[in-house]
Symmetry: C2
Subunit: 716 residues, 2 copies
């Protein structure tokens, strides 16, 4: 894996050069130059390069980088036609300029010629160690130090620095976030590296994870180029205690992957992305306003662990509605201490509701001092982790007063007060809250949605760092052979040698053999066609259950071959697998492995059997898994009650189940170079001590998978 | 059922009297009087009544209603101490004043004495025909005719009338909606009747359904007093083509009802409410901003049926994000005509995305004329039902120009343009859109959420009016006997006589009988303990499956009795039911009936068998059902794919299944007086032509349920 870039001189450059600087104020080169010279606080020089000018605004302008005076330059800002970019970058290498930001467009977003140019930049970076940010991007903004290496005319307006770090792939939406964080805690660094030919989102995450002035990292991603680098960066952020909030575009893409196994077709890449974010502790959101709100809550208004929410308002209907929405979201409500109850009772009229939710009634609004005291009382309660204060309407001076009260009390309490401005009339109270960085939510459900993403849950202490992924990535295997599907019998033989728990079985080549094998195994047995060409055996009449005599076994042999000959005449038939049948009442689950293009090997766990694609109740992890991952997966599925036992059933053998999940992870990891897909479905899971046994197995691999085979490991 | 009130003179009164009028401007009586005299456009007189004054503001004040001059008075507005309300109302009756609004508090919300007062008002209404609105309410506002029978000081500020009708139970949140509808289409009538002692939400719905100036009805409800009146009113609205949007508080209430059957415990009242709203065509929302947005979309910006959504913006990242969110919500995207494509291609730069989503790129913003033309082109496309226009940031004059463009084009097209103001900077563009009644959404997901609730779906033409519910309501039965649970054998006997499809069965009293019956029925059989005291037979060892010989049947008889004797020693045992066992592969579903306190008999349909409480995949309808209801229910469950057939299975016999649902509805309806709960679970549903057969049945009823029994019907 390519190491993360050292961005120290990139973030805080001394001298920079603008290649394509222009005296025309409306041009991109002119705006970029003006942002640096006029609106930034750069400690050193801004050199201008443009063969068309001798000077710009009275400062000298050089014809090329090559001809610049001899000074150490940290970053070259390149905003020339795509065709001239490579030459400029070569001059950067000559002049030992370590970083270049290429803002020009006309690269991989613009057809084949542009793609070739971009590949040439990539090669230059690899060969020389030059770091390129871009191309096709708005630049980089170090808001906290006021350094705008960007052509955006909005740079000078969005200068509210702070502890929030942003990395976005598109530029436009990042501006939305900056505008949303104009007051209170602002944005410290904003990366937006466009096509990401060299420096990528993981580099920025890793840098911000180690930057002491960054508290929270917000990400807006459209695609994921290298899942292993991304997860390594997320892991670094988690180790440093920096929360990461991510909005990933691409949830609705049709998971149109053609695949033999359920595992690969269920695990659409959106589901895998979400699972990986969860695995590495990143908080996923669905819209831009949520990204803003959750990031901001984590930076300045995170609820206290071990506490509950207090809902506080002056309208009974609003209190009921907010409590209902919080309850549906599963947020814990605070139980007040007796002291709080006593003090509220003395402050509020008899008909006010002093239990949580607190409905002060509108009376208290006439007495600002009492209103402040009352709000402070709930903030002081040790059981209150955050106060949600919905304001249902704009009442002019009355709601201005409420805003002032929230601002005042906020300044003297550690408990976050989270206002909700519910009216569309954005009155003075809204403006006051906004200006003081209290950033009211605009709907109760928006506030609850954000709070429920950040509320510290019991037992949600940062997970132990997982086993560090070190295995092969994605599509490429070790190249020995084309992938082929094993027959069930072959797959089970491989798995049996690898020590997996499987039912007793043998392949019969004749009806008579089937009868003999069945008698040897003991009745009842199940019989299944053995063919590498048939993935779904039930559909083509290739399965018989509950066979309870030798005669029935012989008969089943013939009838299976007849049915399959009709349904799949071209399939190669290796015989019929005769197998011990497990007692009814076992839970049927699925464990599968497939290769994800971004993250490499991914393990899927979920409900299995015939309903697997209907219920689609599955969860995912990158391989290899730590024991804690396997235990967490088992509890993540929606219908976990099925494993706990319903209607008097005993629970499932969860020890055996998690052991099997880990065994699959270990097996897949060991065969990472050759294994393309593995699916155990159904796995029969009995009651405690009865074990977890794979009843069916599918393997697709290139080459053989022998136990303990030493395979070449791929370096990503 | 109490008929709906005629509200003509209430909505548009000529003369009114204020009982409790006051010259003190800050008092409730003073504000109410001022709202009527100064801020309303009442065609007649406002009489003041208060024994403490002889005149108010130069107008005469009378000591009591009794002593008023002789003129027809339409509405009495009562704002005196709770203890004096009843006397005032009696005087209304004497003076033949048909309506009174009681705003005073101190009634059922304030303890036992207040509840007694409220009951006395209810009796007075019943005895005399007086209609009372309130008590404990802010009054009624006829915005469109500017009549404010309310003490709210905000009345004079929220006077933007229009075609939206509102009925809210609490007062505060209604004001939020009025403030949100200050521009563009406003609120015509706003009912907020507090404790609803007499006039109730259903009266207001029914009135607005027939009011030609009301286009859409918005409801905010905390509780439901009489479900049958509510559904009758909703039905009236549907017949008149008036969409109803409802926010019902109370989703998170723990469904703590103790019940023998799964049906009653699954059907928490929030689920039943939601199902009933769906049954009667009302659109349910989850928050106040959604109530506002959906109501407004239906009033002025409903998408054209048979069309798709166009996403139109000038930022590529925004286009991708919006398209992703729309795709996840399942909104159909419009496919442009060739003409649209051609025109867009000629208007936009080569690198713009002209397919839907349209990303014009920012270039076009410099040319307002071209921007207007381009927006008009997509609005003119016949395949476009609505245009979603997200604006990711505030760019001062640039975004002001976008707002003007949206306003201009909106005025000349029938296609709704729906702006999303995504920035928290509420700049000039936001103000412009707001002032012109275009009401931008504040997040993409908010806009998509609202649009997906109103988008006309295929085949979602207004449902045929369902069979009009006319049976008993809720708790009360016919009072003949205490409810008792039938044993499975008794229940099946009743159902068999009523013509339900059941497997062959008989009750055995000895092991020998069991063997004989099993042989008569044919193997395999299933055997189950017969006891009226055991609801969940499996849990106490009372069930044996797959019995394939007479000897095994005799043995099973003994072993069942032994197991049950241990697990439930006090249970009365009637014997063991021996029953034909149906072939494997049938789908297991549940059909149940229980009594809901608000809506009376409710039918539940869903996935059955052992997983019923785990999957909780059910849907509900009020009884009686129309055939279209049964067909719709079958398609409403999440895992409908199980009925359609998974992995090569044939589909389930849906004809038999819907017939069975209707048969249960009819049976429950016929026995409404006595039937408390009925549950068929599992029902075995075979492949087409194989039928739907109830394998287990639970009945709780007061008294006997004989076929064709004539029972007294309760009139609600």
């Amino acid at each position: 894996m390519k190491p993360f870039a050292d961005l120290a001189r990139f973030i805080n450059p001394v001298n920079v050069v603008v290649v394509g600087a222009s005296p025309r104020p409306a041009s991109q080169g002119g705006r970029l130059y003006a942002n640096l010279v006029r609106h930034s606080r750069l400690p050193g020089q801004v050199y201008a390069v443009n063969p068309a000018y001798n000077e710009i605004d009275g400062a000298p302008c050089w014809p090329s980088i090559r001809e610049l005076p001899d000074a150490p330059i940290d970053v070259a800002l390149v905003i020339v036609n795509a065709g001239r970019v490579l030459d400029a970058l070569r001059q950067c290498v000559e002049r030992k300029i370590p970083y270049a930001i290429v803002m020009s467009s006309g690269f991989s977003e613009a057809g084949e010629a542009g793609q070739e140019l971009e590949r040439a930049i990539a090669r230059l970076c690899q060969d020389t160690g030059l770091h390129v940010y871009g191309p096709n991007c708005p630049g980089f903004v170090n808001v906290r130090d006021r350094i705008g290496m960007t052509f955006s005319p909005a740079f000078q307006h969005d200068l509210n620095g702070g502890g929030i770090g942003l990395a976005t792939q598109g530029g436009g939406l990042g501006r939305n976030l900056l505008q949303g964080l104009s007051h209170g805690e602002g944005v410290g660094l904003w990366f937006s590296a466009g096509n990401e030919v060299d420096l990528e989102i993981p580099d920025f995450i890793a840098w911000m994870a180690q930057d002491p002035a960054i508290k929270v990292i917000g990400l807006l991603m459209e695609g994921i180029k290298d899942g292993r680098r991304l997860t390594a960066a997320l892991d670094l952020a988690r180790q440093r205690g920096k929360p990461v909030v991510v909005l990933k575009v691409g949830h609705s893409e049709a998971g149109a992957r053609a695949a033999q196994s359920h595992t690969a077709s269920i695990a659409g890449s959106a589901a895998v992305n979400s699972a990986v974010f969860r695995q590495f502790g990143a908080i996923e959101v669905e819209d831009l306003d949520q990204l803003l709100a959750v990031t901001r809550l984590l930076a300045v208004a995170a609820p206290r662990p071990g506490s509950g929410l207090c809902i506080y308002t002056f309208s009974g209907g609003t209190a009921a509605l907010a409590t209902d929405i919080a309850g549906t979201a599963g947020l814990p409500m605070a139980v007040f201490t007796e002291q709080t109850n006593t003090r509220l009772r003395s402050l509020l009229p008899a008909f006010a509701n002093i239990a949580n939710p607190v409905d002060t009634t509108a009376d208290i609004l006439r007495d600002p001092e009492a209103a402040n005291t009352c709000l402070r009382v709930v903030c002081d309660d040790p059981n209150v982790g955050a106060v949600l204060f919905p304001i249902p309407m704009d009442y002019g001076e009355v709601t201005d007063g409420i805003a002032r009260s929230i601002i005042e009390v906020s300044q003297s309490t550690a408990t976050p007060i989270i206002p909700v401005w519910m009216s569309r009339r954005m009155g003075g109270g809204f403006e006051l809250l906004e200006r003081h960085g209290l950033q009211p939510f605009l709907s109760i459900s928006g506030a609850i949605g954000a709070l429920s993403r950040v509320w510290p849950r019991e037992g949600s202490a940062p997970l132990a760092a997982p086993a560090v992924p070190g295995h092969s990535v994605g599509a490429a295997a070790d190249g020995t052979a084309a992938p082929r599907q094993f027959s069930e019998a072959q797959a089970k033989a491989v798995l049996r040698r690898a020590g997996f728990p499987l039912p007793r079985n043998e392949v019969a080549g004749t009806a008579r053999q089937a009868a003999e094998i069945a008698a040897r195994i003991g009745f009842p047995v199940v019989m299944k066609v053995a063919s590498p060409d048939i993935a779904h055996k039930t559909e083509c009449g290739g399965v018989r259950l509950n066979i309870d005599s030798a005669a029935a076994a012989a008969q089943a042999y013939d009838s299976i071959l007849a049915a399959v000959a009709q349904a799949a005449p071209a399939a190669r038939i290796e015989g019929v697998l005769v197998e011990a049948m497990l007692p009814a009442g076992g839970r049927e689950i699925l464990i599968g492995v497939h290769r994800d293009a971004a993250y490499g090997q991914v393990l899927t766990f979920g409900l299995g059997g015939i309903l697997v694609e209907t219920l689609r109740d599955t969860t995912h992890r990158m391989i290899p898994l730590a024991p804690a991952d396997a235990q967490a997966m088992v509890r993540e599925i929606r219908n976990v009650a099925i494993l706990d036992g319903v209607r008097g059933q005993p629970p499932a053998d969860l020890d055996a189940l998690t052991a099997l999940i880990l065994q699959v992870s270990e097996f897949a990891s060991r065969h990472a170079g050759r294994l393309v897909e593995l699916e155990l479905n159904p796995v029969w899971v009995g009651a405690p001590e009865q074990g977890a046994i794979a009843l069916d197995a599918l393997i697709i691999a290139s080459g053989e998978l022998e136990q303990n085979a030493i395979e070449p490991e791929q370096t990503a």
